[in-house]
């Protein structure tokens, strides 16, 4: 049912909070394997909600979401609804603005948590890959530190390693650098860039210009719960067509 080349397919996605707060207004989105997509837009435009709908941290109100061949229609009452959500979450890694590392576990404990609890590996089985990932994000020496002893940039890199430990097919980044001191942004973006270069499919909500312009293959600008326009980074940053895009870009560039 799915084209091998399609990682994410979203059709007519709506999200309404409460009775009348219409945050997502009929979004369509196709992301191919290996694509790196940046989503930009003013705050309150629905970017984060869209990202959180993809792994069902928010339950969509209407529409369909398909991730790596697993399709879920909003509001469906099928028996395997919950199982399909778990399936999508296992295929998806997510990084949060607030990192959300587990404070009662060490760095390596955080990275092993998914494989141990979700995939049922023993700690011994999970350790080598977790160490490899910590090394890959440049934090081997922080292996046994608790998150409270790490800087924001280090915490976010552990969080990325934690997601990667589940061997996800796609990574979702929800403003991963917005809570960081400016001097720490680079180390996180660097890890994201290396991830992109290794062929990971990425959807990032970000205002980090280097990532949006030089790393992503496509840029979407969002406002009022739907796209204003999309295109290659060059098109979007040098020659946006829509007036609202121009206004928004003028603010952040």
């Amino acid at each position: 049912m799915s084209n091998n080349n399609v990682m994410v397919k979203i059709r007519n996605l709506h999200k309404v909070f409460g009775q009348d707060l219409h945050v997502l207004d009929g979004i369509d989105l196709d992301v191919s394997v290996g694509e790196v997509v940046s989503i930009l837009g003013p705050s309150g435009s629905g970017k984060s909600t869209l990202l959180r709908c993809i792994n069902f941290l928010e339950e969509p109100t209407a529409g369909t979401i398909e991730v790596d061949g697993v399709a879920i229609k909003a509001g469906e009452k099928s028996k395997d609804h919950a199982a399909k959500i778990l399936d999508i979450r296992k295929k998806t890694g997510m990084c949060f603005q607030a990192f959300n590392l587990f404070p009662h576990m060490t760095a390596i404990g955080n990275v092993m948590e998914g494989p141990v609890t979700v995939l049922g590996q023993t700690k011994k089985e999970a350790t080598p890959y977790a160490e490899e990932l910590l090394d890959w994000v440049g934090l081997s020496d922080k292996r046994d530190e608790f998150p409270a002893r790490l800087s924001g940039g280090q915490q976010q890199r552990v969080a990325i390693a934690r997601s990667l430990a589940m061997k996800p097919k796609i990574m979702l980044f929800d403003e991963p650098t917005s809570a960081l001191d400016p001097e720490l942004v680079g180390e996180v973006v660097d890890v994201m860039e290396r991830l992109a270069n290794e062929g990971m499919t990425i959807i990032a909500v970000t205002h980090e210009m280097h990532f949006a312009r030089d790393v992503s293959s496509r840029v979407f600008i969002m406002d009022g719960g739907n796209w204003i326009e999309e295109g290659s980074p060059e098109e979007m940053f040098t020659n946006p067509k829509e007036e609202r895009s121009k206004q928004f870009l003028a603010h952040i560039l």
Partner: protein, 288 residues
């Protein structure tokens, strides 16, 4: 203060060192004076008791007999608190459950038990439950009465466990709700089920929050365990009151038993502090 923690490259200037010394001295002075004050207060209490003409010989004669009741007190307390913890976790999950029946049961449990005196509940388990058994027997549940006729100690354990379980339900619920939403989201994003999220991420963090209030409950329960004396169990306070009355020396016996409870609670408090320190691992500020 650890030198190797220094961020700035150059050494700390002498005038700053002098200030640090002052601060350190002030802190040490305070804790020394605090200890001296406490010692004086305790000494005053002892002196007061001597002035009152307390019969210490009488007390030392009976202390062994009273301490024999310690076993019952500890047995009842430990079993009741263990059971109460289990009830509290189930109760808290019920109070947070989106299943209306489970939620209603937990809500009713907390409301009913917190809304009635423990004294009444103790008698309920001991005296009224057999009557319920009799009624059920007449309704056709033959043989049930003997299971609902509890001896004094099990009845006391049940009463305390169910009562404290209700109070602790609210403590555990508040602890669970105090954990930031992002924690559960991060767990779910990894693919954890609700139960896994609770067991691996939420509950271990909530535990840290609820240890102090739960210890509080435990300390209160150790003392409330004296209520089993109502059912004729020869525990600590029952023995002290009996002897005090028989020899018209209630003051001595009451002070003695109060002191025993106090020592027990001081021990518990020390244990609590140890656990808290252990649980604080990973918190900012540990080891400075």
């Amino acid at each position: 203060m650890n030198q190797s923690n220094s961020i700035a490259g150059r050494g700390i200037p002498p005038e700053a060192l002098a200030v640090l010394k002052q601060i350190d001295a002030r802190r040490k002075n305070f804790s020394r004076n605090l200890r001296i004050s406490l010692a004086i207060l305790v000494l005053l209490m002892v002196v007061g008791l001597v002035v009152l003409g307390l019969d210490f010989k009488f007390m030392s004669k009976w202390i062994g007999f009273i301490l024999t009741g310690l076993g019952f007190t500890l047995l009842v307390s430990v079993l009741a608190i263990s059971l109460a913890c289990v009830l509290a976790v189930i109760g808290a999950l019920g109070r947070l459950s989106r299943n209306p029946i489970f939620n209603a049961m937990a809500t009713l449990y907390v409301s009913l038990i917190r809304g009635t005196p423990l004294l009444v509940q103790v008698y309920m388990w001991y005296l009224a439950l057999p009557q319920i058994g009799g009624a059920l027997e007449r309704l056709g549940l033959v043989g049930i009465q003997k299971y609902l006729t509890l001896p004094a100690i099990p009845a006391g354990i049940m009463a305390l466990a169910v009562c404290y379980g209700a109070y602790m339900t609210e403590t555990v619920r508040a602890g669970i709700q105090s954990i930031k939403i992002g924690q559960g989201e991060a767990a779910k994003a990894l693919g954890m089920t609700g139960a896994q999220t609770m067991r691996r991420v939420i509950f271990p963090q909530a535990l840290r929050v609820i240890i102090p209030p739960v210890s509080n409950e435990f300390i209160a329960m150790v003392k409330d365990s004296s209520l089993v004396s109502l059912m004729g169990v020869w525990e600590l306070s029952f023995r002290a009151i009996k002897i005090g009355r028989r020899y018209f020396q209630s003051l001595e016996m009451l002070i003695l038993v109060a002191a025993i409870y106090w020592v027990m609670c001081i021990v518990l408090q020390t244990v609590q502090e140890r656990i808290e320190k252990h649980m604080a691992r990973g918190e900012r500020g540990e080891n400075g």
